[in-house]
Symmetry: C2
Subunit: 406 residues, 2 copies
């Protein structure tokens, strides 16, 4: 694999990587140390703008906080999107602190404890109900604290998002209520004093096929229409899920937003009468933030073992588990990475490893990079989503990585 600097980043005349217009080394100086995650707020904003420009008017955009919960980044996103989706009481606090109104926060997750439900009801956030039992618990808590619970129903769809990195429909699942059981739970919502906010239907994630995404959206709208007759009144909002993938690997092609936007406009235009007054939202995490982030680590050692050259860095899987192929992947492939300190001298084949005492800790396996010296910075791209918080940060007792939104 040869190195490539992805869109949004470039090199200066000396071959040094620029992030948000400044040399990577400059950001490290400003932060004070490596490893460092740098997130470019201009890329984040551009991403949201591109979505808005391509998608039908009135379509809501939600940010799934779990993709990157850095408080400054969540605050930046909160000002740009229409809602925040959270997966824990901790993320709920974060979303509220970011300035998002509780009415635009929805809380999903199969294992919400009573304290979590109480926090959401108390704050006025919408609870995506994952089971009949959870609805009962939410009702009891609401009565006890004298509040009306805002609820939406999460439905486990009978279809899945084809070609997605992670399928979330069409099979037995701990997430949501099977579509077949949904009418009953919707009727239970109607029978009690809930504030019904709509449906939440997820079919998968990390898909790079526009056709597959549109198929899933079409099926989702049809399913919502089928369920509408059972809902307590008209459906205010259908969260269509997201599933927009990003191109991690050579051969991956970025999604064509105009195809998605036109297709989704047609789907919504043709929606059944039962959904005429319904609003729709797309919930995105990875697609909004992954490409805005870069992970910078420094080469500590350079060594040759049995003719293989290793660049040993101060980074590793404790910050970038997915990039080492150890989280949710079957076949390990390299994330794009480059020597951020220089570009000249041709290319050499090296393996870039982290500082941990485990053979799993490999950021780049036999990649072609500009010949590197100890002290050079390595940049791993696609680091804006599922980085620090999706990694075993405490493993082996190394310091936490630094993070900057710039």
């Amino acid at each position: 694999m040869t190195d490539r600097v992805p869109a949004g980043f470039c090199r200066d005349a000396d071959g040094r990587l620029l992030v948000a217009g400044q040399a990577a080394e400059g950001w490290v100086e400003a932060a004070g140390d490596t490893p460092l995650f740098v997130y470019d707020r201009a890329i984040l904003s551009a991403r949201v703008a591109a979505f808005r420009a391509a998608m039908p008017a009135g379509l809501q955009l939600h940010y799934a906080v779990k993709a990157n919960p850095l408080p400054a980044l969540v605050a930046h996103m909160a000002a740009l999107v229409d809602g925040l989706d959270v997966a824990s009481a901790g993320e709920l606090r974060l979303a509220l602190s970011a300035g998002m109104a509780a009415g635009h926060i929805s809380f999903a997750g199969p294992g919400k404890r009573d304290r979590d439900l109480e926090a959401a009801i108390g704050a006025g956030a919408t609870i995506n109900i994952e089971s009949a039992g959870e609805l009962e618990r939410a009702g009891a808590i609401a009565r006890r604290i004298g509040r009306r619970a805002r609820v939406a129903l999460r439905v486990n769809p009978p279809f899945s998002l084809k070609g997605s990195g992670m399928r979330m429909g069409g099979a037995a699942s701990p997430f949501g209520v099977d579509a077949a059981d949904a009418p009953q739970v919707l009727e239970a919502m109607a029978a009690q004093h809930f504030d019904f906010r709509g449906l939440h239907i997820f079919a998968g994630s990390q898909a790079l096929s526009e056709a597959a995404l549109l198929d899933a959206q079409r099926e989702t709208v049809a399913l919502a229409a089928e369920l509408a007759g059972h809902a307590p009144g008209s459906i205010p909002l259908v969260n269509l899920g997201g599933g927009f993938g990003v191109p991690y690997f050579p051969g991956d092609t970025a999604l064509d937003l105009s195809v998605l936007g036109t297709g989704l406009a047609d789907i919504l235009e043709a929606r059944p009468r039962a959904l005429q007054s319904t609003r729709f939202a797309i919930e995105l995490g990875r697609w909004l933030v992954a490409e805005a982030g870069v992970y910078l680590c420094r080469i500590v050692d350079r060594k040759v073992s049995r003719a293989e050259t290793f660049l040993v860095t101060d980074g590793g899987l404790h910050h970038q588990l997915a990039a080492t192929g150890n989280f949710g992947t079957v076949i390990r492939r390299n994330y794009p990475l480059v020597n951020a300190s220089r570009d000249g001298g041709g290319r050499e084949i090296v393996s870039v490893v982290g500082c941990l005492c485990t053979p799993l800790d490999r950021l780049g396996d036999k990649v072609a990079l500009a010949p590197a010296a100890i002290g050079d910075l390595i940049a791993v791209f696609m680091a804006g989503a599922y980085g620090r918080t999706a990694s075993p940060q405490a493993f082996l007792g190394h310091p936490a990585p630094l993070e900057m939104l710039v």
Copy 2:
């Protein structure tokens, strides 16, 4: 897979799981919440005692802190073993705080930064040198701060531990110096003012074959003897590595320590003259602590999706990544787990999942458990090693797990 309570644990007359003689629920009450890791210090002590009883007199036992760095547990182990092995400056501080003398601490890791080397040299810990370049840096730092650096050479052996869960020899590696290059680095050690402490040779980990372990130990002793002529004086200590596996899965058989002890006694007895005054150490992490720990989480929801029953807990892969099959494993298999609150009513097939919004978060896939109610505790065994710190704890913003050494 049917459930089993592993050795060291049992149930009371009401079918409740006992941990260190007390009901699991009692430990949760004492800790104040779930999820909770409980580590049984009697099991830890018994493990060390069994090792001592079976192994040749004079063989040192080291504890690899990375397996479980809970400070109380490290302090408990420090009082029982002959040395602590650390993998970062953070673990070095922990080992010193646990009361281990610096002379009995060794520091391995391919990406030691100058500040890490300085911390080790300043404290008087032994640095396992991973490359010629690292030796040079250590020498320069020692001169600068006016200390003599204690160093051992980590050798990448030309053989590997057969059948090990993770091979660490016989191939190109970022760890240590290839055996072929070791003489040169040993001679560089002799040429400078280093305090030479010996060799550190790791061939793999998590092996369940006594024959394979003994083969690796035999080859390690032979390799050490070959290198002895290049060392700066006689070799004080050879760290033979560890690699002792533990039985995670049905069909796995625990190691027979007496076979290992007898075999290793023969190997050491027959060691070449060049190693007559050398002492030997076995470094163990997982084998010492894995079976002493249990992870307790509570069932928050019980639901059926497409005829599959799910028990949704408040635990998950953010605390127990390896148990969900997402860390260093190719084929997912269930760790032993039981309903810790009851044993009656026959068995039902259920899937036990965590509270995270990802299909990866599955602690038990179609396991046979005593029929469970919401509120019951689930116990996942083999949780003493590579649990909390080897998991993405911050993922989705849930609270940290609690830990108790009892």
